[in-house]
């Protein structure tokens, strides 16, 4: 019974860790695509570079926050298992 409880807790922590890693992958892919298209567009039209840079940063902030949602959930999960947050 103690073993099954400990197993549940360890699965939860493992899930939180894997979730945070997947969130990082998602953020990496998203922001990478934004950066790639922005680079391409800047290479085609160098005079548009400041405007493209501005839009790129803003959209990167939006995509990044989606990954941060997942990070916050993972932190809550791992916090609940040793009573720090909950």
């Amino acid at each position: 019974m103690l073993f099954s409880m400990l197993l549940d807790v360890s699965y939860a922590i493992m899930g939180a860790g894997i979730g945070a890693g997947l969130a990082a992958i998602g953020a990496g892919i998203g922001v990478g695509r934004i950066g790639g298209s922005a680079m391409e567009a800047m290479a085609r039209q160098p005079e548009m570079q400041p405007k493209l840079q501005g839009s790129m940063l803003i959209i990167a902030a939006l995509v990044e926050v989606a990954a941060l949602f997942a990070l916050v959930i993972c932190l809550i999960i791992s916090g609940k298992t040793n009573g720090v947050l909950g």
Partner: protein, 327 residues
């Protein structure tokens, strides 16, 4: 500074107990730094802690106000006071929770932010009165490009013709979030815009303004979308109804997650030094922390911009006039 003292305290406390826990509780310190607190701890020592006032209301005792220093004894252990006890930043009267209206760290930061906004923006408006017809000088010339940026890039294109009704609120919102984010990055400051109650209030204001100023086109679009075949309208209706709530909800979560995650990242990098207890890691981590802090400055500005942009987008959707056929 307070961070290293907190870690040293943890280690001292841990080694003075019989428990074999030698590692400092990094997660606990990080979580404690991003959460709200009744005590504002700047640095260790007698003068480094600000015991903020506690204001509680309960049916049995009514409204009571006292300093939170009563909750701690000389060795900073929590003790109950007059029937009230403080556990995990929640005040209980015996077993029942009470209505807590205390001035906590985040509330004090809100007052500080409001004071700063008043000071800076009234100085700007007085400058305009003095320099009538002349070029702007001083803090005017710093704030004016930002105000013009908000007006011309965010508010006017999205709201359209009647933008001047909403411009004061949107300017206040932008400067409030910007100053709040920047204040939170100072050492010893509280994590104000990373408090989900603060972002909930800002999102609730957006919700109220959007739905109160929604004209008949807006509600028609939600309940009975024009220009769409009938079966689709039945499907679109619940989706749009939920959308009324999810749009401000996403605003709330976005600001909260961005700022809190930024703070947790900075604190985690600083605590790397304490985990490894090595000078090389300390130097490397410090350089990394400087880089991430610069990124956090950028994020502070971007999150203020994004919040104001989405709010003005939603308001613009609510007040837009019918523009002929075709959507």
């Amino acid at each position: 500074m307070s961070f290293s003292d907190a870690i040293a305290q943890e280690q001292h406390a841990a080694s003075s107990h019989e428990s074999s826990r030698k590692e400092p509780d990094i997660t606990g310190v990080i979580i404690e730094h991003v959460m709200d607190n009744h005590v504002w701890h700047f640095f260790d020592g007698h003068y480094g802690t600000l015991y903020l006032p506690v204001i509680v209301y309960s049916k049995e005792r009514g409204l009571e106000m006292f300093s939170s220093s009563h909750f701690f004894d000389e060795h900073h252990n929590p003790v109950p006071y007059n029937g009230y006890s403080l556990e995990h930043n929640k005040i209980f009267l015996g077993e029942t929770p009470v209505w807590d209206f205390s001035i906590t760290k985040n509330v004090a930061m809100l007052f500080l932010n409001a004071g700063l906004l008043l000071a800076v923006l009234t100085a700007v408006s007085r400058g305009y009165g003095r320099n009538r017809g002349k070029a702007p000088k001083g803090v005017q010339s710093f704030i004016e490009p930002i105000v013009l940026f908000v007006k011309d890039e965010i508010v006017k294109p999205n709201i359209g013709a009647r933008y001047e009704r909403y411009l004061p609120y949107l300017l206040t919102l932008f400067f409030f979030i910007l100053f709040g984010n920047l204040l939170g990055l100072l050492p010893g400051a509280g994590n104000m815009t990373g408090n989900i109650a603060v972002t909930l209030t800002l999102a609730a204001l957006t919700f109220i303004i959007t739905n109160v100023s929604g004209n008949s086109n807006y509600w028609m679009h939600i309940f009975w979308t024009p220009g769409v075949p009938l079966p689709l309208r039945i499907i679109i209706f619940p989706v749009e109804l939920i959308g009324i709530f999810t749009k401000p909800f996403s605003l709330m979560i976005r600001l909260f997650a961005a700022i809190t995650a930024g703070h947790i990242l900075l604190l985690g990098l600083i605590s790397l030094t304490f985990m490894f207890k090595s000078y090389f890691v300390g130097v490397g981590a410090s350089v990394f922390v400087i880089v991430i802090s610069l990124i956090e400055l950028l994020v502070a500005g971007i999150q203020a911009y994004v919040f104001t942009l989405f709010t003005s987008l939603y308001i613009g959707l609510a007040v837009e006039e019918h523009h002929g056929e075709g959507h």
